[in-house]
Amino acid sequence: MNAIEFNNVSKKFRKGERFNSLRDSIPNFFSNMIGKGHGRDELEKREFWAVNNVDFHIKKGEVVGIIGPNGAGKSTILKLLSGIIIPNKGTLAVNGRLSALIEVTAGFHPELTGRENIYLNGTILGMKKKEIDEKFEDIVDFSGIREFIDTPVKRYSSGMFSRLGFSVAAHVNPEVLLVDEVLAVGDIAFQSKCAEKMRELLDSGVTIILVSHNIALIRNLCQRVILLDKGQVLKGGIPGEVIPYYENLVHRQRKHEFQKKMTRQQMDRVKVDDEAVVEIKEVHIMDETRDEKESFSVGTHFIISVDFEAKEKIENPVFSLEVTRADGVVCCMSDTREDNFSIVQIDGQGTVEVDLGKLNLAPGIYGVNAAVWDEKMIHPFAIRHVDVFFVEAEASARPTNAVFLWPMGWTINKTSSQDER
């Protein structure tokens, strides 16, 4: 039997301010009565689908991650599942006792002591008083704030506050658990306790839906991942497939922003020399088939060519090229003088081409900075810093913080008789 069934569910919300006083609503009410009624399925002005025709089924004991950019509808789905809001279209069913590790401190009252809040919050989360009596000691031990248990929680530090909240919520013993970005609570010691608790829950066969921006966590815990964007399911499947797809999606979006930013900066710079004698017309970023592309996969043969136009004759110009990561790290830079490639003179239009060999940059967004200099590289004739390309993350690739994916050949020479594997 499925633990969770989500059948073509849609939920709409409204943007902007809305009426919530009688004074505004009474005239509105009458005008609505006169006007024709709206169907449940249609969008009125200012409305949008926060969740649009989402369909998934989760089997008992499965651990499923939901990822997606902000505003994708992740939290709305959790709210729909927990029953706080109801869908406009579609049906959903949850089989088994549901608990949510969401906003674990929402039920706390600052004036009450830790002890009183454990009972209050526990019952809010659906526990019986007797159940809490039984688990009380465990909860206090888990939270690690025994000495402050009879202090009003308003005197707690924010860490203690959320630790207590998590401790209560973690002891609910659900059959279906919804988790929304709460695992990053407390100090390192507490976090490892949380991780242990999560493991325990995983092993006990609880069905878990995990919403997080922490991709590493999703990768480690989930058997299946659902990628959402703008209320719709973009992709679902094993983490190794969905996560790289998501990373590419994010990078692609960021690439546009990056490009815009660079273009803006370029505009500011260009004003300096209007009467440029050399103009860089275009920079082409291409693969080995000379196909101009925006995104490349790792290992592609990579060529950059620079179209220029010299308005007068220039002797011994120097071309330079720089590849910069989005965060400003310069990944490589070189110029024709450095590489002892001499260009006697340029006049009119032409193209300079650089072959960079196999692309071994790590997935991410990169900018290309091309420039033409005078002989001594003191004065630039032209600088162009607007071209952007993007290296795709590959399915099942491990995440990396490195700049380069260097092909590395490992060998080992045993020097002692000690056992090494």
Partner: protein, 258 residues
């Protein structure tokens, strides 16, 4: 609808306890707080009675003071319950929007917490009346039933207004105004007999007929008017059910409209 609330009875209990604790925890007056409003109201009532007696050239007797005190307690229970209930959903918006539980427990807990204050005040008044050797009779057995009626009516109205205030925030102000001047429209300081045939309008308000019945069984030591008693009972149960029903019907819309 009631089943769901019953399932969460432990939560209802905890929330009631929370409301009571918060009210008494930082209050310098402690339990005197429960008596404060009734005492002020009784003083106001005596003042008005005194003025009326002056005009008509009579004096006030003890029975009239007792009558005022007896009716003031349920009245203060009613108005403080409504006052807390109206705010109960909006004041706990983080719970309403973030955690699923039958939201009806919030206004119900507010009403129950006021019932606790009411109980304290009743005990104090009972002691006073016993000392004054007044008010003990077989007819007192009607009192619990009347208090149940009042509770049901108050809880039902509280549910309705709490839900209303969630959608329209100005309901709170309407309610506050009504509660401030309500005491003049309800037979607390006076008795409905003084209005002759117009008394029907005062008794049509279930709170009015309940207060009159309470006055009959406690102070006058006689059977309540069975017609009005039946009316009060029926309208209280009706109010509770309709309040709960509308509340539960609108409940799925709470989180996104709050």
């Amino acid at each position: 609808m009631l089943k769901k609330v019953f399932q969460y009875r432990d939560l209802l209990f905890m929330l009631t306890l929370r409301d009571i604790r918060i009210r008494y925890k930082q209050a310098a007056m402690g339990f005197i707080w429960a008596l404060f409003m009734p005492i002020v109201a009784v003083c106001a009532g005596i003042l008005i009675k005194y003025a009326m007696a002056n005009v008509s050239g009579t004096t006030i007797d003890l029975l009239e003071v007792v009558s005022i005190s007896v009716k003031v307690l349920p009245w203060t229970f009613f108005i403080s319950s409504i006052r807390f209930s109206v705010q109960s959903l909006v004041g706990n918006s983080s719970l309403v929007t973030k955690i699923y539980f039958p939201n009806a427990v919030l206004p119900l807990a507010s009403t129950l917490a006021c019932l606790f204050d009411f109980a304290i005040a009743i005990i104090v008044l009972a002691v006073l009346l016993t000392v004054a050797q007044l008010g003990v009779s077989i007819y007192l057995l009607w009192l619990p039933v009347l208090i149940i009626f009042l509770f049901l009516f108050t809880a039902g109205l509280g549910l309705l207004l709490a839900a209303g205030n969630l959608f329209f925030r100005d309901i709170k102000y309407v309610v506050q105004t009504m509660l401030t001047f309500g005491i003049f429209f309800v037979p607390v300081f006076y008795s409905v007999d003084q209005f002759g045939k117009w008394s029907v309008f005062l008794l049509a308000n279930p709170v009015g007929s309940i207060l009159e019945a309470i006055n009959s069984v406690v102070v006058l030591q006689q059977m309540p008017d069975m017609g009005w008693f039946g009316y009060a009972g029926a309208s209280s149960v009706f109010m509770f059910l309709i309040g709960l029903r509308i509340f539960c019907e609108k409940e799925p819309l709470f989180a996104e409209n709050i």
